[in-house]
């Protein structure tokens, strides 16, 4: 494991614990076991470290979303797949999710990266449009808005876990997947009658 990666991983831990603004460059270096000057050999600034964390991980996330989008399956399954990818990230890497949700998602300093976030919404939107075209979802619902509502529901559950406000055992995660998926699929479904 090279130093650069070690610094990034340390930064995720430190940002998760203190938040980006409270975190000191020295803390990151200490956690990584290097002198803090070295950080500036690999990154332009503290903010650049945060940006890198975002870009590299969001890239991986996008790749997984694209894979789901391109699979040959009906839209409802795709949406369920997306929900699972998002929510299961919590168990895999809580610190990373904490940083993404708390420090990246809405930080004014990273608004240049909006384009990359937009791509995720675009994928969800296309999946919803596919569902509408194939008759699984009812038309007349603005797919763009729906994609935001869908994503927001998932992100808020992640936030609940980050803040320690929602239980997050393995079963809890499964239940959360079910609830989010069920609301979204019933919420969008075509051909429902009372």
């Amino acid at each position: 494991m090279d130093r650069r990666s070690r610094i990034l991983e340390a930064a995720v831990r430190v940002f998760a614990e203190h938040g980006f603004h409270r975190a000191r460059v020295g803390d990151i270096a200490e956690d990584a076991g290097v002198a803090h000057g070295l950080l500036y050999h690999y990154f332009a600034s503290k903010e650049d470290v945060l940006r890198t964390i975002f870009v590299e991980n969001w890239g991986r996330f996008l790749a997984r979303l694209r894979a789901v989008e391109q699979a040959e399956q009906p839209a409802p399954e795709k949406l369920a797949g997306i929900a699972k990818i998002l929510l299961r990230t919590w168990r895999n890497d809580p610190a990373l999710v904490t940083v993404m949700v708390r420090d990246v998602a809405r930080s004014p300093e990273l608004q240049e990266q909006v384009a990359e976030v937009r791509e995720a919404f675009a994928i969800v939107q296309r999946v919803i449009e596919q569902g509408q075209a194939e008759g699984d979802f009812r038309t007349g619902i603005d797919a763009r808005l729906a994609s935001w509502v869908f994503y927001g529901g998932l992100e808020e559950v992640l936030t609940g876990w980050v803040l320690g406000e929602l239980p997050d055992s393995g079963e809890d995660v499964t239940r959360a997947e079910q609830v989010a998926i069920e609301i979204a699929l019933f919420g969008l479904a075509a051909g429902l009658r009372p």
Copy 2:
């Protein structure tokens, strides 16, 4: 209009423009047209200003939610009412919403205030439980989780407006209300059949 309120309003504008961390106390004072020392006559610190903005406005918001909860109407209407309260805030006071969504919602510094946020979720949860008890919503969906998903969907739409990523004319707001409400109500509704 007294100085204290003027300072608070200025703070909302300045925080909305730069974000809490980038905003300087001097900027707030200048915007309010007072010396920056005066801020410390009314508030203990810059952070205390943010906390005050949150507490006073969230209190008003909670009062409106409680009013909806206590009205005598079926749960679906109540949920729709809550969605409208939240989303219409954007047109009323975009700067305030910006601060709430961007700087307050997930800031590590305001986590003492979690209790007040929790109350809002509790209200939504009780409304959903009421709907389940009265047969409007299907049982078997965890009402607590559902309240987070519901709230998250709405907050994300607000975020879209804050970031300038979603159109926000009057019609757009109305459409957003419809989409969010429709997804939630179909998503939770009882007695649906394909």
